[in-house]
C-alpha cells in the first residue's frame, strides 16, 4: 500500500501547488527511495525459501 500512498502524496502536492508555491523537500525524495527499496524487497524476497530454511533448522 506504500506505493499507492506515494502516488496519493504526488496528487495532493499537485493540488496544493495550485494554491501556493511549492518546493519539494529532501524527505520527499527519501520517501520515494524508501518505497522503491521496499518494493524491490517484496520482489526479491521468496517466502517459501524463508519457510524452508526455518523448517530445516529444527
Amino acid at each position: 500500500m506504500a506505493d499507492i500512498f506515494v502516488v496519493g502524496v504526488v496528487v495532493s502536492l499537485v493540488k496544493i501547488s495550485s494554491l501556493a508555491n511549492l518546493e519539494v523537500g529532501v524527505a520527499f525524495w527519501a520517501l520515494l527511495g524508501l518505497i522503491g527499496v521496499s518494493l524491490f524487497l517484496d520482489y526479491v524476497l521468496c517466502k517459501d525459501t524463508i519457510w524452508d530454511r526455518l523448517t530445516c533448522r529444527v
Binding site: 502516488v7 496519493g8 496528487v11 493540488k15 496544493i16 517466502k47 519457510w51
Partner: protein
C-alpha cells in the same frame, strides 16, 4: 494438457506458508499453525456479501462531498468527480487522469470482474481456466490503487490547516469510498482462486469439497 490439483492428489496447501499436508490431517498447519482448508468455506457466499456492501457504499461515495474547503474567498465542497474536473481546469490533465482512473474506473471494473468470476463459478461458463485466473489476478492487482483518493484527502487534510486563510476537512463521501474500496478488496480476497481451477465447478461440487475436508 492434463494437470493434477492438490485436492485430486489428496493434499491441501497452507495459504500462509505453502506447506502441503494430507486432506485427512487436522485443520491446523503443521508448520505455521494457520488454518488449512482444501477450499475456503462458503467462499462464494462471502464474496457476494462483501461485493454487495462495496457496491452499496460506492453510491454515497460518489454523491457526497469528500472534501470541504473553507477559505477567506468562500467555502467549497468537492466530490470525487468535481475534484477530477478541478484538476483538469488547473491544467494537470495527467494527474486528473490518474485520479479518474483510480477512483471511478477501477472500482467499477472490479465490481464487474468479481461478479463475473463468481457467476462463472455458479453457472457453467465457456471461459477457460486461464482467462478466469488472469481476471482474478487483475482484480487483486488493481484493487489497492483505488485507495489513492483516500490518501489524497488524508494528506490534504493534514497539510492544509491554515486557520482563517484556508482549512480543509474530510467529508462523509471519503468514508463511504474507503468502505467501498476495503469491502471490494475483501470480496476479491475471499474468492478462493483454487475454485477457478476445479474442472466441475458447480456450487454443489464446491460444497461437497468443503464437507469432505471437514468430515475427515
Amino acid at each position: 494438457m492434463q494437470s493434477l490439483t492438490a485436492l485430486q492428489a489428496g493434499l491441501k496447501r497452507c495459504t500462509s506458508c505453502s506447506n502441503m499436508q494430507k486432506l485427512t490431517d487436522n485443520d491446523d498447519c503443521a508448520r505455521c499453525g494457520a488454518r488449512v482448508d482444501s477450499r475456503r468455506t462458503n467462499s462464494i457466499m462471502r464474496t457476494w456479501v462483501f461485493l454487495f456492501v462495496g457496491i452499496v457504499a460506492y453510491f454515497p461515495a460518489n454523491l457526497l462531498p469528500i472534501l470541504y474547503t473553507e477559505s477567506f474567498v468562500g467555502n467549497t465542497n468537492d466530490t470525487i468527480i468535481s475534484g477530477v474536473l478541478s484538476l483538469i481546469s488547473a491544467g494537470s490533465v495527467a494527474v486528473a487522469f490518474i485520479v479518474f482512473f483510480a477512483s471511478i474506473v477501477i472500482p467499477v471494473v472490479k465490481f464487474i470482474a468479481i461478479a463475473g468470476l463468481v457467476l462463472s463459478l455458479q453457472y457453467s461458463s465457456n471461459m477457460s481456466e486461464h482467462s478466469k485466473h488472469r481476471l482474478h489476478a487483475l482484480t487483486e492487482l488493481i484493487g489497492r490503487w483505488s485507495m489513492i483518493d483516500v490518501f489524497v484527502v488524508a494528506v490534504l487534510v493534514a497539510l492544509i490547516q491554515l486557520g482563517a486563510i484556508i482549512t480543509v476537512t474530510p467529508g462523509m463521501g471519503i468514508n463511504a469510498f474507503a468502505v467501498s474500496v476495503i469491502f471490494t478488496m475483501l470480496a476479491a480476497s475471499s474468492l478462493d482462486p483454487r475454485l477457478l481451477w476445479d474442472k466441475d465447478n458447480t456450487v454443489d461440487n464446491v460444497e461437497s469439497f468443503d464437507g469432505a475436508a471437514e468430515t475427515h
